[in-house]
Every structure is written in C-alpha cells, then in structure tokens.
Amino acid sequence: MSTIVECRGVAKRYRQGALSVDALRGLDLQIEEGDFASLAGPSGSGKTTLLNILGGLDRPSAGSVKIAGEDITKLDNNALADLRLKRIGFVFQAYNLIPVLSAVENVEFILQLLGAPPKERRARATEMLEEVALAGLDNRRPAQLSGGQQQRVAVARALASRPAIVLADEPTANLDSKTAEDLISLMSRLNESSGVTFLMATHDQRVIERTRRHIVITDGRIASDERRTRPAS
C-alpha cells in the first residue's frame, strides 16, 4: 500500500483586511491508497480548507503537501490545474455539473480536457455512467436529473480520469437520507471494486458509519484518526 496524500505542518491563514483567521494550524495527515475515509468536525473547523489544499485548489500558508509523492506547494497555477485534472476528483455539495452539457457530456468533458480521442471518451463516459447506475440517462441535462442523480454524475466524472484520490466535500448534505444512503453505498462499492481512494468531509453520521477510517478535525488540527477494519453495514 502506497501513500497518496502526505501533509506535514499544514497551516492556512485567511486575511480579510485587518482580520485574520487561522483555518488550519499545523496539520499532519497521511492518506493511504484505497482508504475510504471520512473527515468530520464542527462547521468552521477547516474541513473545506483542507480538502481545497489537498486538491490543489488553494495553497497552504505553511507546511508541505505531497500527492503521490509530488510536493504540490511548489506548482504554478497551470500545473495545479493539470494536477486537479489528472490526479484529483472533486465532488462538491452542489453545483457540480456544467448545466448546458448532458450527463454523458459532463463526464466526457474531463476526458476531452485530458486529450482522449472522441470515440474512446464517449465509450468511457457511457461506461462510467453505467457504473454509477445511470445507464439510459446519458442525454439528460443536469436540470432534468434529481439531486441524487446529479451527485452520481459528479462521482462518475470524478472517477473518469482515474484519479489518485476523490475528495468529496459534504456530498450528501443536499440529499434526503435514502438518496444519501444510496450515494454512500455507491462510493463504498466503487472503493471496494476498483480501489479508488476517497476522502469525504461530512457531518452525516450515516456516512461516517460507512467509512473505514474516521478523521476528526477541530480548530484546524487533527483531533482523532481511527481505523475500523470492518465498516458498519
């Protein structure tokens, strides 16, 4: 098992005029390949900030972040965009999809950015939609999909580039409990079947119960980090 994410002493200070907020205060974290981990903590504890930094959307004020062995704090903006494209899959709480593209096109779009040939990318996008149990809804626009279906498309898209890790920020927060349950089951299944690494920021107790690693963050530091060999089913 190799290390996908390695953070050492990561700090993030936001400045707003005279005010400054320390969102992260020297945080160490290691995520292993195949982890299915939840990141919990009170609102404002720094979960989103941490995911953004791990995903190359934001830069830490101090500390080092390695993704698959590469120090990403030294990358320029374009290199960070490439990192996000090739190594990271993002799933947000909402507004994940491009509204003018159909489900299959949303997935395909990533593959096109990656330079995949048209036939290949259509085939893979269709296959990814099947994986997330959305076969037949390929040509629907996001507005024609339910919230749960939209999140599944987002998962399919996140996985399309075969990333090193999928970072999900409160992916179930906008879903009803049944739909949330389905989504977490889907992600769990994908983790088990293809070994994709997941790190999910969440409040949702049902999500936390289903993960095999449970990280708690408080005031910008890791408060606890426990592994469970057998997730509750």
């Binding site: 959307l57 934001d58 903006n77 965009a81 996000r84 491009i98 003018v100 950015l113 580039s161």
Partner: protein, 406 residues
C-alpha cells in the same frame, strides 16, 4: 467541445442573447444603409458636377491648375487626344481653351469666362449641351457662334439670333475682339455657371486669341468616374509622356472634394459612436453573465480546466455573438439597401439645394462590397477585440474565491 459549450452558453439567456444580437444586427444594417446612401450621394454629386463641365480628369500644362493662363498651352492637342484615347476606359477626350472676356450688347457689358470647345467631342463629355433652354447647342459647322448661360443672357438682354461683342486679351498680347451670334441659351440650375459661362467653337477661339492651333486642356470622359479613377496611373503616365500633368477630379473640384471629406469625417464619427455603443452593450451583457457564472467557473477550475481555457470559452461566446449578429446584419442591411437602391430615395425638399450641384433629387444607395461589409466588419472586430476584457477578468479568477461567490 469548448466551442459547443460556448455556443450553448450563449443560449442560456435567450432573451438577453436576442437583445445582444438585435443590437448588432440593427447597427450593422444601419451602417450598411447609411454608408451606401452616403457613397451613392457622393458618387451622384461627383458625377453630376464633373459631367457638367470638367470631365472626370484633365490633361493640363504644368502649373495651369494653380494659374489658368491662356499662355500655358498644349501646342498639339490632337497628339494628346490620340495618346489619351489609347487608354481603354477613356471614351472621349475633348480639347478646350478658355479665358476671361468682356461681353457687350449695346451699353450693357459683363465679364464672362469663354470656353473654346470642339462641339462634337463636347457633346459626349459634358451635359451642358443637354441643358438648352432656347435655341440649340453649338454644331460642328458653327463659326462665330456662342452658347450662352441664361443668367448672362438675361443680364445682356439677349436671346437666340442676337449678336454680342467679345473683347479680351489674346495670347500674343494683342487685343482679341469678335462679334458672336447667340445660337442657344443654357440653364444648368447653377446660378454661377449660368451667369458666367459661354461656349464658342474652338477653331474660332484659336484664331481670335492667337492660339496657333493650341488648347489649354484636354478633358477626359469615361463611362463612369470610377472607370476613370481606376486608370488614373495610366492616364498620369500618358500625360507625363507628352509633357502634361493629369489632374484627377479632386484637383479639378477641390471644394467639392473638401465638402465630401468633411461630410465623410462627420459620418465616420457617427459610425464610431454606433460601434462604441454596440460594443458597450454587448460587453456589459457578457460581463454580467460572467459575474453570474463565477461560481460555475470555480467548479470548472476545480475539475481541471485552466483559467485561460475558461477565458477562451468566454471569448468564443463573444465571437459567436459577433459573427452571427454580423452575418444576419449584413443579410438584413444589404437586402434593405438593395431594395432602396432599386427604387431610389426621393428628397423633394432638397431639390433646390441639389440643383446647384446639377444633382437629381432622387438618390440611389450604392451597395457594394465596401458599403456592405465595412460597418459590420468594424462592429465584429471591435466586439472580438473588446473580448480581451472578460478574458483577462476570467483568467485572473482564483478557484477558491470563485467557488465561494454567490
């Protein structure tokens, strides 16, 4: 897919896009129509003025234009005429001599410009022969005949068949005097010309003024002014070969040329303001939509799109708007203009004004590639260039702050 994305994005707000397109279409159509009308008017003005007397160009002795002196002559006008007629576009080349004289009838005397002309050539070159009010134009067998402007005829109290005395200075500094018989009176509508001009046969002029077979200028005519303008370099070369200077219409009618330039620069100001307004509308609309989509851009960056790719997408949206608008605008504007070009546009109120320039009061828009494409192209390019503003704005976005935008 970036292009497809851009295309679909512009239809997310169909009303807004329709308004943007409408502003491009209307502005394009307006510039086409106005430019064509303007060019049509200028063309009519130029041709009307030049056809009356000047011709479309003239071969002259050096310095004649600044100081038209009887002594600056073309010794052998036939040679010049033959050489100029070698150029295909030249349909007629007419020799002329002219000077100032005093005309009298009894105790009435008036100053006048007298032109010695070759009547048969002149009939093809100048529309003056067609403005006969009474009597007839000069004929090839006339000798001491005069074709007199109506104003001058009124002042001298003469009409067809009357005799007038002409007194002037000949080329050899002797006194030139002759008695001419009025064969016709013309009325051009231009009071200045009608009051100041008479024409007489060139041969008689040459003997009266000791011209020794010479003339002062050779006026050149063609099917249209544009035809002659197109062969100006050849005309200049031909004139230079026989020791003459070719004067184009701007040199023959500098005042008219200035009026047209002044009018054109005022209209240019109008066109520029129109373009600026359209660009402002389009840019403003796009910036609004960029602002509304900031969060979406954050998402696009999160999934790995580079900011400059997003900027390129926005630029493409503008490009699509500009191209679609301009294409429809050209079709619409050119169609409208072509319709008016077929019917002509009457300006009954301007009839008196136009007559001074020997112009008809119905104008025909001149729809050509230039009038059809200049405006829309300028609008299209300005919009596309203005796209650098949203492009830079989007390129400068930070993913995290973009995603936090509401």
């Amino acid at each position: 897919m970036l292009a497809a994305l851009a295309w679909r994005n512009i239809w997310r707000q169909p009303h807004r896009t329709a308004l943007s397109l409408a502003s491009i279409i209307v502005a394009s159509a307006v510039t086409i129509f106005l430019l064509a009308l303007q060019q049509g008017a200028y063309g009519t003005m130029e041709e009307s003025v030049l056809r009356l007397l000047d011709g479309f160009a003239q071969a002259q002795p050096g310095g004649y234009a600044d100081d038209p002196d009887l002594n600056k002559t073309i010794a052998k006008p036939e040679t010049a005429i033959a050489r100029l007629k070698e150029i295909k576009a030249v349909t007629v080349a007419a020799p002329r001599a002219s000077t100032y004289v005093i005309l009298s009838n009894g105790d009435r005397s008036f100053g006048s410009a007298v032109f010695g002309v070759d009547p048969s050539a002149e009939e093809k070159l100048s529309t003056l022969a067609g403005t006969v009010k009474e009597g007839r134009y000069l004929g090839p067998d006339d000798e001491n005949a005069a074709f007199v402007g109506a104003g001058l005829a009124r002042n001298l109290k003469i009409s067809t068949g009357d005799k007038i005395t002409m007194l002037g200075g000949a080329r050899d500094r002797s006194i030139a005097a002759d008695v001419l018989t009025v064969v016709g009176v013309f009325s051009t509508g231009s009071p200045e010309i009608d009051r100041q001009v008479i024409e007489m046969p060139l041969t008689r002029f040459q003997s009266d003024f000791a011209m020794d077979g010479g003339a002062n200028v050779v006026a050149v005519g063609g099917r249209s002014l544009a035809d002659i303008q197109a062969v100006l370099p050849a005309l200049r070369k031909a004139a230079a070969e026989i020791g003459l200077t070719m004067r184009d219409w701007t040199e023959l009618e500098p005042a008219l040329h200035d009026v047209i330039l002044l009018d054109a620069s005022f209209s240019a100001l109008l066109y520029v303001s129109l373009v600026v307004i359209v660009v402002f509308i389009i840019l403003n609309t796009l910036l609004m939509s960029v602002l509304e989509r900031t969060r979406e851009f954050g998402m696009l960056m999160a999934i790995g799109m580079r900011p400059n790719q997003i900027g390129a997408m926005i630029w493409m949206e503008l490009l699509f708007l500009a191209v679609v608008g301009a294409v429809i605008g050209v079709a619409f504007g050119a169609g409208l203009t072509a319709w008016f070009a077929g019917r002509g546009i009457a300006f009954p109120d301007a009839e008196i004004l136009f007559r001074q320039w020997n112009m008809p009061s119905t104008l025909y828009p001149d729809l050509n590639w230039r009038s059809a494409l200049a405006g829309p192209t300028a609008i299209m390019l300005s919009i596309v260039f203005a796209g650098v503003i949203p492009y830079l704005r989007v390129r400068g976005l930070e993913p995290v702050s973009a995603m936090r935008a509401v």
